[in-house]
């Protein structure tokens, strides 16, 4: 029953020994989790979305717990790409961790600039392009909510970064037609898709009787959104079966990870679950391996999209 399962996976031309990754913004740049497990034991560390300049982010309070979930409005606080590349990436490489760098921008140009800086950096497996950011050139409309802006960001990154580094476009579920956005960014050169970013939400503090978060709205994450993530991954995998998906959204157990994989994810990022359990990635990875073995899968890759098989 329990033969060893080959857990390896690929996203574009990047190979990973296991499909369990951190989620951007939920592992900072990795150092903080290293006390709880060796970072090279998981598939990859996806770093917090970095912008070209240092940023303070949004005012506090930046979080509110909600039933089986939480809202955050961090606002992409970070050191800026130069400090990040100087300090954080080399440290991760030293730990022999596989690194996926997440980038974020306010203009199409900023994404390209970030991509240019990544081009020559060694030790990076892929770049995740977080397009769930307000586009300052388009009334603050989030890039990922507009097919044309999404496409232009990825096009710019693709052209700047050259053909080597896989590009994973991270999409927002807050759209009417997710497969259409997905198709656009794939046409523009994305090698893979990351699904899903947080769902836009709000909590009102019934004592102050105002929005609780400093940034008013925030992103909903955690188990509450898992059914939305599964649906998004299933829909997009059905529409674009050949495009690898890095799935995420509410994964807190090996069962959850398996659900996303069956829906069509080639890899699974674990975000909010690490807040409640710093060793979540390792626990999830072990449980996933056992579940795959119990179902007779010799390789994790056989399970990708298995819920779409004939007769389903």
């Amino acid at each position: 029953m329990s033969l060893p399962v080959d857990m390896s996976t690929t996203l574009g031309n990047a190979w990973f020994p296991t499909p369990i990754f951190t989620a951007s913004g939920c592992a900072s740049s990795g150092k903080e989790l290293a006390q709880f497990f060796p970072l090279n034991q998981v598939g990859a560390i996806v770093t917090k979305s970095v912008m070209s300049k240092p940023r303070h982010g949004r005012p506090t309070p930046r979080m509110a717990e909600t039933p089986s979930g939480m809202l955050n409005s961090i606002g992409l606080q970070g050191p800026g790409i130069d400090a990040f590349l100087a300090n954080d990436v080399p440290w991760l490489v030293e730990q022999k961790a596989r690194v996926i760098v997440s980038i974020a921008g306010e203009t199409v140009e900023e994404y390209s600039t970030l991509a240019r800086k990544l081009r020559s950096v060694s030790g990076i497996s892929a770049v995740e392009v977080n397009i769930s950011c307000p586009n300052v050139e388009n009334r603050g409309l989030v890039f990922a909510c507009d097919p044309e802006s999404s496409r232009r960001v990825i096009d710019g990154v693709r052209k700047t970064i050259g053909g080597e580094l896989p590009i994973i476009a991270k999409l927002s579920p807050d759209v009417t037609d997710l497969p259409a956005i997905a198709r656009g960014v794939v046409d523009a050169g994305a090698d893979g898709l990351a699904l899903i970013n947080t769902v836009l939400g709000m909590v009102i503090n019934i004592d102050s009787m105002r929005p609780h978060l400093g940034g008013k709205t925030g992103g909903l994450s955690g188990p509450a959104i898992k059914p939305v993530a599964v649906r998004a991954i299933y829909q997009v995998h059905a529409a674009l079966p050949k495009v690898p998906i890095l799935g995420m959204g509410g994964v807190a157990s090996g069962r959850d990870a398996l659900e996303l994989i069956l829906a069509g994810a080639s890899g699974v990022s674990v975000g909010t679950a690490s807040f409640g359990n710093p060793k979540a990635l390792i626990d999830i990875q072990n449980e996933l391996r056992d579940l795959l073995a119990a179902r007779g899968f010799a390789t994790m890759q056989q399970a990708i999209g298995y819920a779409h098989r004939e007769g389903a």
Partner: protein
Amino acid sequence: MATINKNAVQEMVTILSNKRVGAYHQILLNVGDIVKNCRPGNFVAIRVGGDTSKLILRRAFAISRVSESSQYGGTMELIVAPHGSGSKWLCSQLEGAEIDIVAPLGTAFGIPTEPISALLIGGGYGSAPLFGLADVLKSRGCKVDMLLGASVGSKIYAPMEGKRSVNSLKIYTEDGSMGETGRVTENLLNIVKDRNIDVIYSCGPMAMLSAITALVADTDVIHQCAVEESMACGIGVCMTCVLPVRNEDGSTSMLRSCIDGPVMDGSTVRWDLVGKVPEVSS
């Protein structure tokens, strides 16, 4: 390998006792060797609500005191106010229950190498870590005075044993139901002057910490305060718990109060900017 959260471990531990003390619960945990790395000011992050819980985030509590000599091996004491659903769940756990903790976390109060005069100021359950701190300071030959304040007497936590480790203890309540009527900041500057205080150690509501900082701003007194910001992860990965802190060069950084705190130098915190965003620094 780890440079952050260096001594933190996640473990299932047993509740040895859970007693109501005034408005709080005094909860004693059997934590074994974890105590070896706990310093006054550190905190513990506790999973709440049990297996079917909708509460997905840990709750942070100051480590009130630890003991290695007890009959149970290492024990850790917490003083918990039943506030919302998570802390109420914790307060309802019975002796023998197992709970999931991550500890020790965060920075600790700096302990002077010289026998200085220290003033410890606690607001509400903020007094919890101060008694453990007082023990350590006393053992270093310091003079330790303490001021405790709360809205009402039942929210003053000042255990008998604790009182032994301080040279003086003064209590204030806003309604006058215990000690003097008023706040700990009432007469602070006089106390600091009269007793030649070198360092203030404080723990309590942010408004209290901010007021103390302002009062001692023009003095030579060092103010180490333990801040309390809403925390999602407690281990530095989420960036929710940030506070604006002044850098050497005058610029401001948003520092994580879970790993760069909770104990911070009060004079570096930009209390005026808490809940706001500083100007972009570059």
